[in-house]
Point group: C2
Chain length 289, copies 2
C-alpha cells in the first residue's frame, strides 16, 4: 500500500500519535539492566505500552549509532518488531547526501527488505539529495519526511532567513510540494514525501499547511519541547488526517520508577485524547467559519 | 593535539589529499570477493596504495550503513586501521540533529574512545545542531566540517538563495566562523570547526576563504565531479595549508582490473602533484601581486 494511504488509515483507525524511541542508557528506569539487553527490554516495553494508542514508532538512529554496531543491530531488531506489531516505522536519521551516496542511504533504510516505512531527510543539498530517496519510495511504497521547519529554538538561524517575500523554509516548502506531487496515494491523495514542521511554531505550521497541501506532516516538539495539541492541530488537514505528532521523552521517560510502562501508557493515552480534542475543536471552528 | 594543528602538520608533511572510502559491492575490482571480507580487503588495499600520499581517509557512512550492522562493524574496523596507519580519519556522515540527539551522534563518532578525528555535519538546524559537536571537539581534540556550499549541481536550490546582499551559504559561513573562533589551534591558528566547500564552485571558494579565515576547508568535487586543482587551490590559505581536497571514485576505482592498487596509487600521486603545482602557481601569483 502507498505510504501516505497506509499512514492515513492508521491515523484514522488509531490516532495521530507517533512515539519516538530515543533510548539512553543513563535514563533507563528502575528495574531495567543498564546494557543493550536492558535497552531492548525497555523499548519493547514501550511498544507494549503504546500498542493501539500510537500509529507510529520513530526510533532515532543517533541513540543506536552511539552504541556502535551492536546498537545498529538492536535498531534493526526493534524496527522488525515494531513492524510485526503493526506500527508504521519511521527511522529518524535526518540523512543528507547526493547521488549514489544518497541511494546507499535510501537502500539502507528504505530498501524493499528493510523493516522501515519512512526516513527523515535533510534537504540542504537540494534535489540531488532527495531524488535517490524518491526512487526508493515509489518503487517500494516507502516515504520520507523532509526537514522544513524544525522544532528547536535556533531553527530560525537558517530556516527563517528572508528570501524576497518568503523565508528559506517557506521556499523549501514549495520544493517539497513539487518533489511530492507525482507520488500521491489513491486513497489519501497525500504524497509519499512528507515534511517535518515543529509544533512550537504554530504560525509556520498553519501557513505551511497551505503551501504543501499534498504533504503529510511529521510534527515534533509536542510535550517536552513545549508544543501544545492546539498548535499541532494546525498542521492537520480539516478531516483530522494529514499529520502525525511525535513525542519521545514525555512518553518513554514518563516515570523513572518501576511503573514506567503504565506511566508511558497513560502519557500516550493522554496525548491521544489531547490531540483528539484539539482536532475536534478545530473542526468545529472550521465549520463555524 | 588540536585537530587543526594535527591536520595542518599532516598537510605540510604529506599532501592535502583526502581519499574518500566509498566501497560499493558492485564496483569491487577484478579478483576481489563480492562480500564483506572482499570489501575489507579492498579498502585496506586502497589505504596501502595511498599511504604517504594522502593525509586523510574519509569513509562515507552511507556505504557502510547500507550493509546493515555488519557494515557498521566494518566501518569502525577500517577507521581503527586508518588511525593506526597514521591517517587523519574523517567520518563523512553529514549528521544533523539537536540537543541530546546531536550529543549522541557526537559521542558515536567523536567520543574519546572512537578511532575518528572529525565528522561532517549538516547545520540546517542552526546552532542547537552544532554546539553538542563543539563540546566533543574541544574536550577530545576532534573536529567537524560543516556543509556550507556543497559540490553537487543542485546545491544552489537552497544554498544560493539571496538573503539581502548575501546568499544563504554566505550567511552560514559567518555562523561557521563564529562557531569556530573559540577553538583555534596554537600552531595553525585554525579552528576545530571546518567547512565543506565544493571545488566546482571556484568563485564561492575564493569568497568563502575571506569570510571564514580561521576555518579549515574540506573540498570535495575534485576529479570525478569535475573540479580542478587550480579551482581547489582557491580554498587554501597562501602558505598552502588550511584545506584538504577529497577524491573518492577517481582513486578507488581508478582501475576495475587486477591492477586496481597500482592504479589507485598512481591516481593519488597524480592528484598530489597536481595540487602541489596549483598551490605553487597560486603562491607565485600572490607574490607577484
Amino acid at each position: 500500500m502507498h505510504f501516505a494511504d497506509a499512514l492515513t488509515a492508521k491515523v484514522r483507525k488509531i490516532s495521530p500519535v507517533c512515539v519516538g524511541l530515543d533510548p539512553q542508557m543513563e535514563k533507563l528506569p528502575k528495574g531495567i539492566r543498564k546494557d543493550l539487553e536492558g535497552m531492548k527490554t525497555f523499548c519493547r516495553g514501550i511498544m507494549d505500552a503504546v500498542q493501539n494508542l500510537a500509529s507510529c514508532i520513530k526510533p532515532n538512529l543517533a541513540f543506536f549509532e552511539t552504541l556502535g554496531w551492536e546498537g545498529m543491530k538492536l535498531f534493526f531488531e526493534l524496527c522488525s518488531e515494531a513492524k510485526e506489531r503493526g506500527f508504521i516505522v519511521i527511522s529518524d536519521g535526518k540523512r543528507s547526501d547526493i547521488g549514489n551516496t544518497a541511494a546507499a542511504y535510501a537502500a539502507a533504510y528504505l530498501g524493499v527488505d528493510k523493516p522501515i516505512d519512512a526516513l527523515t531527510v535533510n534537504a540542504y543539498l537540494g534535489s540531488d539529495g532527495v531524488s535517490p530517496f524518491l526512487r526508493q519510495c515509489s518503487e517500494h511504497d516507502k516515504g520520507i519526511f523532509v526537514l522544513v521547519k524544525t522544532s528547536n529554538a535556533s531553527s530560525g538561524e537558517l530556516q527563517d532567513l528572508p528570501v524576497g517575500d518568503e523565508m528559506v523554509h517557506e521556499h523549501l516548502s514549495h520544493l517539497v510540494e513539487s518533489w511530492g506531487k507525482d507520488c500521491l496515494g489513491m486513497e489519501s491523495k497525500l504524497s509519499c514525501v512528507g515534511a517535518v514542521v515543529g509544533a512550537p511554531y504554530p504560525e509556520e505550521l498553519k501557513y505551511l499547511r497551505t503551501t504543501m497541501p499534498h504533504i503529510p506532516f511529521l510534527i515534533p516538539g509536542y510535550g517536552a519541547q513545549g508544543g501544545t495539541a492546539r498548535e499541532a492541530a494546525l498542521g492537520f488537514i480539516p478531516d483530522g488526517t494529514g499529520a502525525i505528532v511525535n513525542a519521545s521523552r514525555s512518553i518513554m521517560y514518563a516515570s523513572a520508577g518501576e511503573d514506567w510502562k503504565e506511566a508511558a501508557q497513560h502519557a500516550a493515552e493522554a496525548m491521544a485524547a489531547d490531540l483528539k480534542e484539539a482536532l475536534n475543536a478545530r473542526k468545529r471552528d472550521t465549520n463555524l467559519q
